[in-house]
């Protein structure tokens, strides 16, 4: 007896959808491409317009203002190392990509997380989608991203957003759901509108949790830079990728070091934003 069904044509379905989107939503993708492309390029041009040493000082001051002396010191030395090794320009390009992807993730992720916190129905739909996004190998996003946005930095940003957005959505949802019930009750009992309740109570109390999600999102976006370079995104990720394909261990290590420095600085600065929030100002 043979119970085997013929192979389901899932792959063909996906390609059909992709093809349909390509031919019917073209202008939309073009608009998104222009917007994201100009944002990333604008940012990276702006970062690189400032002399590198002045930029290092500015980052150090920011780190000192938000964090403590140790983080400022690390920022100063780490960024100087990147500059010294000759990866400054590419690192700034990567930073522009990561920041753009993170901002997009926050702009989409936080409202979606709020929506999930308010509606169990929405949460039930969104949660499996997020599981899917996080477990599907990241390389797979590259193909449709390239198909819609062609090669370059834009599909890299899109892939980073898809890969990086889940923690922001999840932790926004969680943070708002964890606001103690009696506080929500108190806000209601005094006649708050839903918006007042959100902005005066739920978001401030959930802020540290949401920031933890944003921190994760930034880190995940950063982890995508090497993968994104495979489809033509510029930056220090491309240097790593090139070194790998040419089997140049030394260059690969240097470029990889630049990614690590950037990661640690972004991580510590955002984490300190969280702890500062917890302490209340």
């Amino acid at each position: 007896m043979n119970l085997d069904l013929p192979k389901l044509p899932i792959g063909r379905w996906v390609e059909t959808v992709e093809g349909w989107l390509e031919s019917n939503a073209g202008p939309l993708f073009k608009g998104i491409k222009t917007l994201i492309g100009s944002t990333v390029n604008g940012l990276s041009d702006a970062f690189n317009a400032v002399p590198a040493l002045l930029m290092i000082v500015l980052f150090t001051v920011l780190a000192y203002w938000i964090g403590r002396t140790r983080i400022a010191l690390f920022t100063l030395l780490g960024l100087y190392l990147v500059y010294n090794l000759g990866y400054w320009e590419h690192t700034m390009e990567t930073l522009a990509l990561v920041l753009t992807a993170s901002v997009i993730s926050v702009v989409i992720g936080v409202p979606l997380g709020i929506g999930c916190a308010r509606s169990n129905g929405l949460q039930k739909i969104v949660t499996p989608v997020l599981d899917f996004m996080q477990t599907m190998p990241a390389f797979v996003y590259l193909l449709p991203a390239v198909a819609f946005f062609s090669l370059g930095v834009v599909p890299g940003v899109i892939a980073s957003v898809i890969f990086g957005i889940p923690p922001t959505i999840r932790l926004t949802n969680l943070g708002i759901r964890q606001v103690p019930g009696d506080l929500v009750e108190a806000a209601d009992a005094f006649g708050s509108t839903p918006m007042q309740k959100l902005f005066k109570l739920q978001l401030p109390i959930a802020a540290p949790t949401i920031m933890a999600g944003v921190n994760q999102t930034i880190m995940l976006s950063l982890s995508m830079v090497v993968i994104a370079s495979m489809i033509g995104a510029q930056g220090v990720g491309a240097d790593v990728y090139r070194a790998v394909t040419q089997a140049k261990t030394g260059v690969g290590f240097e470029a990889g070091l630049a990614v690590v420095v950037l990661a640690i600085i972004l991580d510590r600065i955002t984490q300190n934003l969280i702890t500062n929030k917890r302490k209340g100002k």
């Binding site: 103690p180 009696d182 506080l183 009750e185 108190a186 806000a187 209601d188 009992a189 005094f190 006649g191 708050s192 509108t193 007042q196 005066k200 109570l201 401030p204 109390i205 209340g280």
Partner: protein, 399 residues
């Protein structure tokens, strides 16, 4: 007119509340319904009305439905059926916006675990109700500071709530509830999270504040002593039903059923009953009568003292039978034999404080109001007899 009137108010949690009503009508208990269906009867057809300025205590053990009931009053929980009339307007039928207005202006709430906003300072917490109404910053700050002053936390405005002790935090909760000048204050187990000494202080303070504020307070508690201390009237709840409503005295002295009786049997009556409960009517005489009249009266009633009052029943003193007989012989007037020094007590003094006074006095202690008008007298046996639970005869005599 009643400020709050609750009519046939019910709350059933679950999908098919009508089924719960049918089962209740068939005599099913709340437990049986919960066990055999997925329905929970929170509040079962409760009716009562509350007068302006009253402290109305809703008291019951956990699971009795009291916390649900208080949340039905401002619709933090949607009633399944019934009406809640506030100033004659049915809260249950209001739109979301109208309900918000009622919550902003008319009813506010104080919570068991304080529910202060941890990301706001004490002042910002108290301002909250005004802030969401759009009151200008300077005006609401001024009002909030004044309210904090009222609860004795004037100097703590800029602290964070978690820097305050439990008692102080609940004062902030109280100030937050009072800042928007509501007519009605709902207090859900407001003092239950505080330790006993602080709790008593807070009760005293609430009564003190209430004396000037004259708000209508609905106070939820599981603590009978608290209910008896602060309640003008008490509604006793069990299994979602109001078992008895009455003044503390009525509940203690005339328990409606066995449940209430068991509930109140451990109460220290001496701390609940007051002089007014045990006093009996005093035999009086006015000054313009002569000693012979006095003697005759005493002989008729079989007593040995007469209390002398003026036309407005103000107590002037007492005359004894001996002195009257003496005066009748020598032809002196009542004025000459009047004993002016005597023990008097106000009507609201508790029996616990009366023991000594009563046993030290040679003649029955007079109960007078704040204008020295004679209300009644307390004979020695009455206090002990009241404490043994036998209050009805005395109460009857006093009327």
């Amino acid at each position: 007119m009643a400020i709050i009137e609750v009519r046939e108010l019910s709350k059933v949690f679950g999908n098919d509340p009508k089924r719960a009503y049918r089962l209740l009508d068939q005599g099913w208990s709340k437990e049986r319904i919960a066990k055999e269906t997925k329905l929970t009867v929170g509040v079962n057809r409760v009716s009562f009305s509350i007068e302006p300025g009253e402290i109305f205590v809703i008291m019951g053990l956990s699971g009795s439905g009291k916390s649900t009931l208080v949340r039905l009053l401002n619709r933090l929980i949607e009633p399944t059926s019934g009406q809640v009339l506030i100033d004659g307007k049915d809260i249950v039928r209001l739109s979301a916006e109208e309900l918000r207005q009622v919550r902003r202006k008319t009813i506010s709430m104080v919570f068991q675990k304080f529910a202060l906003f941890p990301h706001r300072t004490v002042l910002e917490n108290v301002e909250y109700g005004l802030e969401i109404q759009g009151v200008a910053k300077s005006a609401r700050t001024e009002k909030a500071l004044k309210t904090l002053e009222l609860v004795g936390l004037g100097g703590w405005a800029d602290k964070s709530p978690d820097e305050l002790s439990g008692g102080m935090q609940q004062r902030v909760g109280l100030a937050r509830g009072l800042a928007n000048d509501p007519d009605i204050l709902l207090m859900d187990e407001a003092f239950s999270a505080l330790d006993p000494l602080i709790r008593k202080d807070m009760q005293d303070e609430l009564l003190e504040l209430q004396a000037t504020m004259k708000k209508t307070i609905v106070f939820i508690t599981h603590d009978l002593d608290e209910a008896l201390r602060i309640g003008d009237r008490i509604a006793l709840m069990k299994d979602g039903v109001v078992v008895q409503i009455g003044t503390p005295e009525e509940i203690l002295t005339h328990p409606a059923n066995e449940y209430v009786e068991r509930f109140v049997e451990d109460v220290d009556l001496s701390k609940v009953l007051t002089a007014s409960h045990v006093m009996i009517r005093a035999e009086t005489i006015t000054m313009d009568r002569g000693p012979r009249v006095a003697l005759q009266l005493m002989r008729d009633r079989g007593i040995s003292n007469l209390y002398v009052v003026d036309k407005s029943r103000q107590l002037l003193g007492v005359v004894t039978a001996e002195a009257s007989a003496e005066a009748a012989k020598t032809g002196r007037g009542l004025e000459d034999i009047l004993v002016r020094e005597m023990t008097t007590v106000p009507p609201d003094v508790h029996l616990s404080e009366l023991f000594e006074v009563v046993s030290a006095a040679k003649i029955p202690v007079a109960v007078v109001d704040d204008r020295q008008r004679l209300l009644g007298i307390i004979i020695r046996g009455a206090v002990l007899s009241a404490l043994s639970g036998n209050t009805e005869t005395e109460a009857g005599d006093a009327e």
